[in-house]
């Protein structure tokens, strides 16, 4: 058979593309449910990690249901749109960020750790190569950081990717997101050795300057949306 004929080349290419497309569509379709379940489970694990909960080999689903006692969907004026944990969980923060501030729906997770109420807010921003995201948990004063979790899609290993390390995340514990006048100031991520005026700060990653700045901007933008909510005194809105 002459494999150099034009007609053969075109037929070969067509058949190949159709076969590969069908195969990929089939694989993707067949595995979709399992993948979505995995993504959800991973989100639960991330939220739990931001609360400094050790998951190890425990069932993350069960642990999530036990520790996260409630959820709120609020807008930037702190009006509660829904108080269902499930609805808060379904929100895709990435989609919300593309809407104007007043129209955004913001999830807040309410957790109960050793009898104390904690609030978890959702973060999303941009690193050097791709998106970065995380969760920040606050004590019941809605100001002091109780724990944090950051992750990334494609930051450089050893540099920007270090934001997903426990040592970096632990730096945030005890920092405050508000100043003394109850105004939101965020937490700065600065170059190691430098300081920030009028706000709490943590050391960034050496060699991961752009990712560190991305975390800085993400904290500023995302926690900023919750400002009104954070200014309100804790109402004990946690449904037990």
């Amino acid at each position: 058979m002459d494999t150099n004929k034009n007609s053969y080349t075109i037929i070969f290419a067509t058949v190949m593309v159709v076969i590969v497309a069908l195969m990929l569509a089939f694989v993707s379709g067949a595995l979709k449910d399992k993948q979505t379940a995995n993504v959800k489970l991973d989100k639960k694990k991330q939220i739990l990690t931001s609360l400094s909960v050790e998951i190890d080999n425990q069932d993350a689903d069960e642990l999530f249901n036990k520790i996260i006692t409630g959820g709120l969907v609020i807008n930037s004026k702190a009006e509660v749109l829904s108080d269902s944990k499930e609805q808060a969980f379904e929100i895709d923060i990435n989609k919300e960020l593309s809407k104007p501030l007043e129209k955004r729906q913001l999830p807040v997770y309410i957790a109960n750790i050793d009898g104390k109420t904690k609030y978890v807010v959702s973060l999303r921003g941009a690193g050097l190569w791709g998106p970065i995201w995380g969760y920040l948990s606050l004590n019941d004063d809605k100001n002091t950081v109780f724990g944090s979790y950051f992750s990334h899609a494609s930051e450089t290993p050893g540099l920007g990717a270090e934001i997903s390390q426990k040592s970096f995340q632990a730096e945030f514990i005890g920092k405050k997101v508000m100043n003394n006048e109850n105004k939101f100031v965020s937490i700065a991520v600065v170059k190691p050795g430098q300081t920030a005026e009028g706000m709490d700060y943590v050391d960034g990653i050496s060699g991961g300057t752009i990712t560190s700045k991305g975390v800085d901007a993400m904290l500023m933008n995302c926690i900023g949306q919750y400002e009104t909510f954070l200014q309100q005194p804790a109402t004990g809105g946690a449904k037990q």
Binding site: N4, F12, A13, V20, L31
Partner: protein, 210 residues
């Protein structure tokens, strides 16, 4: 067994480990060698993933080699590699989510790895499936070895740890030792790869150009 590992097959497997190393001699796959060698763990994972993908795409191309139209052979090779990588990535997402999160960028990087195209074009297009499979394994391991050597030095000198475990004791830091931040930067990978090639060539006189 004797037929499985004839002298030629053995050479096909062992050649890329040293005399015909994809990074050291053919200078293929350098791009990913820079990206993933700041730490030992991603280097090992990347080495293994590339080995598996090269071996299997080699087999597929070798099976198809007599039917592939010459003019679009590169495209066909690319489609095979991309499809294979996508399928593997989908399966990982469904059945080993943690691994797929860890691999995240590397999965995509595999498609762009020049070793794959190089082996498909130079070997699988003109050899039988079994030899192609062995050639894939050999080149994959040859690539992995260099990656691991580079990552070993970069992680040891750059972070003071190996495979994420601290190996340089605190006392050494107290005495004034510091991690070398330059080791974590991509240029250092190039320099270490160059040193590896240097050592390799001075050991193998027949590789030296006149």
């Amino acid at each position: 067994m004797s037929k499985l590992f004839s002298a030629k097959t053995k050479e096909v497997f062992l050649g890329p480990l040293s005399k015909n190393n994809p990074i050291g001699v053919q200078v293929l796959g350098i791009c990913s060698a820079l990206a993933v060698t700041a730490k030992l763990e991603p280097a090992i994972v990347m080495g293994l993933s590339v080995t598996i993908i090269v071996a299997f795409s080699n087999v597929i191309i070798s099976l198809l080699r007599n039917t592939i139209p010459n003019r679009i052979r590169i495209i066909v090779q690319l489609v095979v590699v991309a499809a294979l990588v996508t399928v593997v990535s989908e399966f990982l997402k469904a059945f080993a989510y943690d691994v797929s999160v860890q691999l995240s960028v590397y999965i995509g990087l595999i498609i762009t790895n020049c070793i794959l195209m190089g082996r498909l074009e130079a070997f699988a297009m003109s050899n039988k499936p079994w030899e192609s499979f062995v050639d894939g394994l050999g080149n994959g391991f040859g690539y992995a070895i260099v990656l691991i050597i580079v990552a070993f030095f970069r992680e040891l000198l750059g972070s003071g740890s190996l495979y994420g475990i601290r190996v340089i004791p605190q006392a050494v830091y107290d005495a004034g030792y510091m991690n070398n931040g330059l080791m974590l930067m991509p240029p250092m990978a190039l320099i270490i790869v160059a040193c590896v090639i240097w050592v390799h060539r001075s050991k193998n006189k027949d590789l030296q150009e006149k």
